[in-house]
Subunit: 339 residues, 4 copies
């Protein structure tokens, strides 16, 4: 099978559940060829290779990055490997799409961001919600000024299933692992935040207490442009994946929400019922597809992909500020949080 020179050669790292989703989506992106799939578990790598028809499957992720046929690296490995793999790829002159976060530690994140800046590397982080057609449309309306001056922001996120304790212990906690998506939306849709104040508690599952984490939290945001906001977070929702975001301005408001999954409503016994999305893979199916397309389109057109590592760093500062506010029971200015 001959392929045109214009094709972007890809190394794909990490074939877990999220990896499979990305691999399937990759198959539908034009002008891209997965050269190598790597996963420490070789069977997983081989499975990934089959999903996308890649040339080879290997266990060594660094080797995959350094493959000369590889132009871009997609990183879907465990969180604690992101920083090192991004650095390796950037040093090797490769473009990078990595799942968030770069790292849970600010200094480490800053080090990676600095390297990326220094090298002028093309790096995109997986804040997929920005690519959901609802959020993208909201952003467009806001940028066009249709809302007028932004006055308030609200993000609610309820995860369907609480994660296992093992995951909790290495996740950085609910603010860094989960609220981070809403905090990224805050920055994306409204702008930089000046100060946060958070309250958290454990209502759902004692494992969160064991992990010195919170499973139910609220955060107030003070934006630099004067707007106020709130973020609400819960780590379990028996009614499905519950994500709602609102931005209100002087002239209009937008609500981003997809309450109904299947386009069928059933009426019986004096009422009607429709179904909710189960979890992020079905709710953000299009977003995962579109973020990869955007990454490769940016590469092809020579533009910097977005959201980049700088965004990841700023959002991490926000999440750390929120966590600290909760831990220390006081408002925290983002300026306090420095790498």
């Amino acid at each position: 099978m001959t392929k045109s020179k214009a094709e972007i050669g890809v190394a794909f790292l990490g074939v877990g559940r999220m990896g499979e989703t990305h691999l399937r989506n990759l198959a539908a992106v034009n002008g891209v060829r997965v050269r190598v799939v790597a996963d420490p578990i070789l069977e997983a790598a081989e499975h990934g290779r089959e999903l996308c028809g890649a040339d080879r499957a290997i266990a060594n992720t660094e080797e995959a990055i350094l493959d000369p046929a590889v132009d871009a690296v997609i990183i879907v490995t465990p969180t604690d490997t992101h920083a090192r793999l991004i650095e390796t790829a950037v040093l090797a002159g490769k473009a990078v799409f990595s799942e968030k976060p770069i790292a849970l530690d600010l200094a480490e994140t800053k080090r990676v961001v600095d390297l990326i800046d220094q090298k002028g590397a093309a790096v995109q982080l997986g804040f997929m919600r920005r690519f959901d057609p609802g959020y993208a449309e909201a952003k467009k309306r806001i940028d066009q000024g249709e809302l007028g001056r932004i006055e308030s922001f609200r993000a609610l996120s309820r995860d369907t299933y609480p994660p296992p304790l093992k995951f909790l212990l290495q996740s950085g906690g609910s603010f860094l692992d989960m609220a981070v998506h809403d905090l990224d939306l805050a920055r994306f849709l409204v702008g930089e935040v000046e100060e946060v104040s958070a309250w958290g508690t454990v209502l759902i599952d004692d494992r969160f207490a064991q992990a010195q984490d919170t499973d139910t939290a609220v955060v107030m945001l003070k934006f630099k442009n004067g707007a106020l906001g709130v973020v609400e977070m819960s780590r379990r929702s028996k009614w499905g994946y519950d994500i709602r975001t609102e931005v209100a301005g002087a002239d209009a408001k937008v609500v981003i929400e997809a309450p109904q999954k299947t386009p069928m409503t059933m009426s019986q016994e004096f009422g009607a019922r429709y179904d909710h999305y189960e979890n992020f893979p079905d709710r953000f199916e299009a977003a995962y597809r579109l973020e990869l397309q955007a990454f490769f389109e940016a590469l092809k057109s020579g533009q910097k992909p977005s959201p980049g590592a700088g965004d990841a760093l700023e959002t991490l500062r926000l999440a750390i500020a929120a966590r600290r506010s909760w831990q220390e029971n006081r408002p925290v200015k983002i300026s306090e949080i420095q790498p």
Copy 2:
């Protein structure tokens, strides 16, 4: 208690369930005083009197009409008395609000319409849906030309509970008793109809067969302006009162429907549920209130109230045409149906 000369004196005839609704609504209409409530069952009349604070309660409806303090008569008596009571009122120079129909018979209806025309009487018939804010807004948009040339009409009506056999036998059948509301909307929102073709069957309840009636029917409409339409009808709905009307034009469409009654949605078990209206009294609560207000506002301003007896006659012709189409299993032109 003194009352100003400007007050409209009212005779209220018929205190059944519908009558009670009208009586309560009357209490909130300014500038109106119920002088007399009449019902052959004197206890009912007395109960009605109490509901609106009327001066007196009597059994004789004709006597109530002729009361010199009465300017307007509200007729909520059984269908077979409407024609006679309207005529009595019109001959006595009174304004009339009457529940529909004038009569189930075309010749009798025509006789009443002619008398009303001859006397220039102010008569309004109770096609309350026209006053529902949804239908009123749709009408406004259509009249403003926002839909462009009207191309299609659809009305669906499902009654919650099938009526008792006794009612069925004297109702004129489902086309005259029930579809008549949708046919009135067809005329109100689109215009006059040229031809109808109806199919009906008995699926719900054998009593409809006993009454030589149909409980489930569909009707196609050909409008004089070229538009096509359908009316769907069912006499039982286990999920609540199910009314939906659509008008589509070259530029836009309107859908009139109130699927949710209580402004509360409950999410559980991966879905959400809201409730439907139970029946016409809750779905058209505002419409019943607004039709009476419109009647008295018309009287006060010296304008003819609407929909008038002529509308009732034309809509009856339509309903009879649909019934005949079903009975004779052939399309029927409205021009065939003459008093």
Copy 3:
């Protein structure tokens, strides 16, 4: 006109815009007779008398209360008169329905509450939202345990039009005047609050700054039962009256919102549009009607009407705590706020 002994005689005080709404609603309540309407502006009183067919209209509110034919007093006068009028009525042995608040001052409110408790008086305050069918249904589901343990609460309120400066200066500020409705819902739906933390700003109108008030605010709530909550508030909404309340529990969540006013949706240019409620009189039309009915039903059945003065006091403490939190830029425990 003779009236039965069972009728409740009413003195109605204050015929402004809100008063007119109550007067119209009163007309539809059975077993109630307005004996006297009082307003310092006699023309207003006379207008009110006409609206409900009361026996007489006078300027002196105290005289109205003391009328021996009066069993119950409805107080819709300016805020600074509520406490005195309630006390007068309670001392005279009358039942009271009063618009909220009792007073803006805690000590004064406490004094009134103590008097009411001492006299065992039947007093209901006008937190009408509790009677909106959406909130009432939510309460019912929560009380039936359908949501499981309550974990989070969120109330958003955006008033359509900012009030005039004169009103602002005597309103007690946005927390006492406006957020108070949401704080009452927090107590109604979830339970007592332990601590609040509020941020506020002025984004809409400098008059709020002149009045040392805020026009845009967020509040975090810590409930005694462990749940967390947020209240968001804005004093202007160009898209209509924007009220949304959510309560989530271990098993289910309820959302109370009425996003669509008129049951008509118009589709054109690749989208659909429906209208929002304009303001509290249309959004809470049913609630205003139902709260009065509930008041009189309680009187007739000999039960204490609710929400009572104790509720008003507790909610005032919450509102004052939120205001203090904003003013002093620190979390405030409700236990700090004592009369």
Copy 4:
């Protein structure tokens, strides 16, 4: 690149707009390898080859079918080639997925169906709506008996853009080209139809009159199980692709509709607006993906794919009956329509 023996080899015929959609979807189906893409326009074939990474691109569709590496043929060529290509494939022992219709002529369709039956071939026709999650869920609920006895069916379809005259002249007319999707749903969701009665007119575009076709039509359906139905059709919709289907039974009803495309609602000027789907490619994006997956899953599991050629034949009879009813202005029994 080595591939496992279990892979299904595919010949893909026809690379127009619809073909591209199917090719992209194919890329995400596991266990399938496109061996050859054929299109009389070789550049189109080559473009198709690139989209799916096929082995080769050729102009000759028959040659592609006969390729020994080919197990299944996907036919997305012009309508008048379907019958011949299906026959060639079936005779060569290949499985077939073909866009509908088999042919516009009943005898030709019957000939193909008979051949398929004789050979026991695995053939699926592209009635994609059946695979839309809304319709699939509705079917499931109906089959589970949740609706009780089915009493009524309603399908509304409004195409966004009227097709060009050239297309109209060879399309078989609106009943065969467009209403056929709704008639297939009628059979899928309710069952076989006994009789139809159709009215049609030309309101949108005189080209329909030139093509002796109708652009606006209504059809009544009498089902063998006693249910009644209506189909409404329009060939232009300025507000987007407008598809709504309803099935009501003794116990419940289902409504299949996707009124909102992007999960964002914008509130401004006292109302809210959301967007509609533009056309079938966005509305039925998932359905196109899922129908191909179902086809290959059937092949892998050795089951007959569905809907098969027999369904296509029965639905064609229905569409021809509706067209004849319109042309001859009389009800037509389906039994009249014989190959």
